[in-house]
Amino acid sequence: MLHQWINQSPARDWLMTRLPLSRENERAWAASAAVSPATPTFVVQTRTGKDIGVIGLTLHGARAELGIALHEPRYWSGGYGTDAVQTLVDGAFRALPLLRIELIVFPDNVRAIRCYEKARFSKEGVLRAREYRRGKYQDVVIMSILHEEWRRGRGKD
């Protein structure tokens, strides 16, 4: 399921992962992500229990990097991404001693940037020619939310 998702994902143009991944790669990733305390990883489901994507963190001390992919396009623009990001950010800041959660995103992934902004991430800058996509190096935007910002925003939603 994960293997098929990642290699055929309509979201693949936006992913930072370099494709294709073998079934073995993906199995190894899923197995390690499921047990490693440094990479809390979750499946995103609809209310009715349909799996639509994956979200997770990679922890580096008091910093964490967030990654998300919704592989089912009919669920794009439905608020699922924002809900998943907000839920994970909230859970992470409650459960883990984190100072900031950060992520990188391609500047033309407007839908994703909008989602992160709704989840109160701010843009910190543009890293030029940082990721390879469609045959060339492309810029990425770096965004973050600090523990302090999350704490101040609690209860406002």
């Binding site: 370099r18 008091a62 910093r63 100072l99 900031r100 950060e102 910190e124 800058g125 543009v126 890293l127 030029r128 020619a129 940082r130 990721e131 390879y132 190096y137 770096i142 973050s144 600090l146």
Partner: protein, 175 residues
């Protein structure tokens, strides 16, 4: 042990300064400088260094071609260190420290940084060289800008230094 290829470009070499591949014989001077706190205000790596840890880093750098450690010599004394490491897909990260206060302000850093950029672009074929520095380290920022780096992002509360969380200015030189 090869000396870094030196393409001076528009950056001149200060008198008596060389940037050479790190040797085991440089380790005691490097450990002493870090542990005296010579760069305590500006370094991102602020724990005391044992000889064992530094030697292991040196050996690792020699074995894995992905880490390139250099020593900055002035009149044959160790005055600083610089490295290229952890190549990401599109680039490498640069770190530099000049221990010797008398060797600051002479263009030693500018010479070392531009030498390492040449290594990164010409030998390692990196697409970008990146680094982090404290936003109030104006001398370092001027040096990086003179070597072609631009400010890309201010990473808020990214590093713990001297008892507090501090912002990190992220800069890069893109080929």
């Amino acid at each position: 042990m090869a000396v870094a290829r030196i393409d001076l470009g528009s950056v001149s070499r200060p008198a008596g300064v060389r940037v050479v591949a790190r040797a085991q014989s440089h380790i005691p001077a490097i450990a002493a400088a870090f542990n005296r706190g010579d760069v305590a205000e500006s370094t991102l790596y602020h724990l005391p260094r044992s000889h064992v840890a530094l030697s292991a880093g040196y050996e690792g750098g020699r074995r894995h071609r992905t880490i390139r450690n250099f020593t900055i010599l002035r009149h044959k004394s160790v005055v600083g260190v610089c490295s290229l490491f952890a190549p990401a897909f599109a680039g490498v990260q640069l770190a530099i420290a000049i221990f010797d206060a008398a060797s600051r302000g002479l263009g030693v850093g500018r010479f070392a940084v531009s030498t390492l950029c040449d290594v990164a672009f010409d030998e390692l074929h990196a697409g970008r060289v990146e680094l982090g520095t404290y936003p109030d380290n104006h001398a370092a920022i001027r040096c990086y800008e003179a070597c072609g780096f631009s400010r890309e992002a201010l990473l808020r509360s990214s590093i713990y230094h001297n008892g507090a969380w501090r912002d990190l200015l992220w800069m890069a030189h893109v080929r």
